[in-house]
């Protein structure tokens, strides 16, 4: 009897979860249908809505008996609300990871949420102030799938070197930026979002970044960020320098990052070449290495990309990974639809 009751309770509990999941899916679908109509109908002169749906098939194999994994899934859905009204511009980026943990919602940190929400007030042509939630200005690889030349990122998800990935590192902060003809400098005072929900117990974090674009086709960027924590042992400082140079259809880029923590200094670098064969077809080759406590994480990636239409793109990727001596191979096909 008790077993039957528990079994019934389990079913009841699952049903609740299913309802919860269904509601979330309905919310995402409702949002998507809203976007479909919004992209067709002009909301007003100051508001634009855009976004993307990104999904992939990925397979990895580390050569061991049970070391093969596969996945076919939607990786990320994002809707951006972009406003421009005179001297003020704003962005609200709502994103969802449909692979979030619905089975154990308490563990879930990747549901539908505000990825970025910020506005910028341009005092004049040179000086602007931005307030809100945004990502780091550092790092060669940027925030969204459409901003990557490859399917995967260069560095491991645990090493702390994916600086431009706003999904893993968003901050609430205030940025004051100065923009000259050929360069720009920005200072950001910030409070990390995520594990640190409240203001830092000590000082705020800060990031200083610069870019130089004075030579046509050359882009130099970099800066450093100081992640203040409650104890010195938890604090992290990061220095990053990156550059890219375009030679006609070929783009060559590289970056070097050094991360200083109480446990010791670690560094990482990547070199990337992207060649556009024509308007639709291109190939990217990336070499990257990241120092970890257990050993280096080295990765070689080759990723042809093809624009099926102006708004639908595909990336085919092969990566060879050496994670502290453990070799593995990854294959992936990624489809990104932008609207």
């Amino acid at each position: 009897m008790v077993t039957k009751f528990l079994s019934w309770m389990r079913v009841f509990k699952q049903t609740n979860k299913q309802i919860d999941m269904k509601n979330k899916l309905l919310a995402v679908l409702a949002t998507l249908s809203m976007v479909a109509s919004a992209s067709a109908v002009k909301v007003n002169d100051n508001l634009s809505i855009n976004g993307f749906i990104d999904g992939s098939y990925a397979s990895s194999d580390d050569g061991t008996a049970n070391g093969k994994t596969q996945s076919l899934e939607i990786d990320e859905v994002e809707i951006n609300f972009v406003t421009n009204v005179g001297n003020v511009s704003g962005l609200i980026a709502v994103d969802a990871n449909p692979n979030a943990d619905y089975v154990t919602p308490s563990n879930d940190t990747e549901n539908l949420g505000i990825e970025q929400a910020h506005f910028t007030y341009n005092i004049n042509d040179a000086v602007s102030v931005t307030f809100g939630r945004y990502g780091s200005a550092l790092g060669l690889e940027r925030e969204d799938p459409a901003g990557l030349y490859t399917y995967s990122r260069a560095y491991s998800s645990t090493g702390g070197f994916n600086l431009g990935d706003v999904d893993s590192r968003a901050v609430d902060g205030l940025t004051i930026a100065y923009t000259g003809d050929a360069y720009s400098v920005a200072v950001s005072l910030e409070n990390q979002v995520g594990d640190e929900h409240s203001l830092e117990t000590n000082d705020l974090d800060f990031e200083i970044s610069f870019t130089y674009t004075g030579i046509a086709g050359l882009n130099i960027g970099g800066g450093f960020l100081v992640d203040n924590e409650a104890t010195a042992a938890q604090e992290t400082d990061v220095v990053n320098v990156n550059l890219s140079r375009q030679f006609g259809k070929l783009l060559v880029a590289g970056e070097y990052t050094e991360l200083s923590a109480d446990a010791g200094d670690r560094d990482a670098y990547l070199v990337l070449a992207d060649y556009d064969v024509n308007n639709k077809f291109g190939v990217a080759l990336r070499l990257s290495s990241e120092e970890q406590a257990a050993g280096d994480y080295d990765k070689v990636t080759i990723a042809p990309n093809y624009a099926i239409t102006e708004s639908l793109g595909a990336i085919l990727e092969y990566s060879d990974i050496d994670d502290a001596g453990d070799d593995s191979e990854e294959y992936a096909v990624e489809l990104t639809y932008t609207f």
């Binding site: 634009s48 042509d125 940027r142 459409a146 870019t211 882009n219 992207d274």
Partner: protein
């Protein structure tokens, strides 16, 4: 009529003067001056009336001319009765209305605004030069992170012209003017 009246007044006055034989020359001269003054005033008024009448005539002529022109112009706006011509007429009218709307939609619709656009400008500087974009798009191209799109039928041919500005990290990396 007025001239006749004047002659009659002069004749009457001289007759009356003859009738008064006992009036002195000085008085006569005085009265004559008075009559001449009155005649002068009448001539002045007659001249003014004639001048006013000319102006009125000119005004009437101008009004008639304008009315005629309006009549001719309105003939060309008559909605054709034939179905094909009617459709063409309304299409043309629609294109003209949309074109005018596009031309009035901001500085992007003027050729000279695009001559100021160059690589390396910021988004804010572009908005100042071209106005707020009609759409802000994402790009599949990783070398471009935001696209400003301006569109509208600028030449009234029923097809939209597009102005595109591509940004990477808040700087213009490439652009396409709607005036090719």
């Amino acid at each position: 009529m007025i001239n006749r009246l004047l002659i009659f007044i002069v004749y009457l006055s001289t007759t009356l003067l003859h009738a008064e034989s006992s009036v002195s020359n000085a008085e006569l001269s005085k009265k004559l001056d008075l009559i001449l003054g009155k005649v002068g005033g009448l001539e002045e008024r007659i001249g003014k009336l004639e001048s006013d009448s000319n102006e009125v005539r000119k005004d009437v002529k101008a009004a008639a001319k304008t009315a005629n022109e309006a009549k001719v112009a309105s003939k060309s706006w008559n909605v054709p009765t034939e179905e094909k011509e009617k459709q063409s007429f309304f299409n043309k009218l629609k294109n003209e209305i949309y074109s005018q709307e596009a031309k009035d939609s901001g500085p992007w619709a003027k050729k000279e605004s695009w001559s100021d656009v160059r690589n390396n400008l910021t988004r804010f500087q572009i908005r100042k030069k071209l106005g707020d974009p009609h759409e802000v798009n994402q790009s599949l191209q990783p070398r471009i992170d935001q696209v400003y799109l301006y569109s509208g039928d600028l030449n009234g041919d029923g097809k939209k012209e597009h102005g595109i500005v591509n940004f990477f990290r808040d700087r213009v990396v490439s652009y396409e003017s709607p005036f090719k």
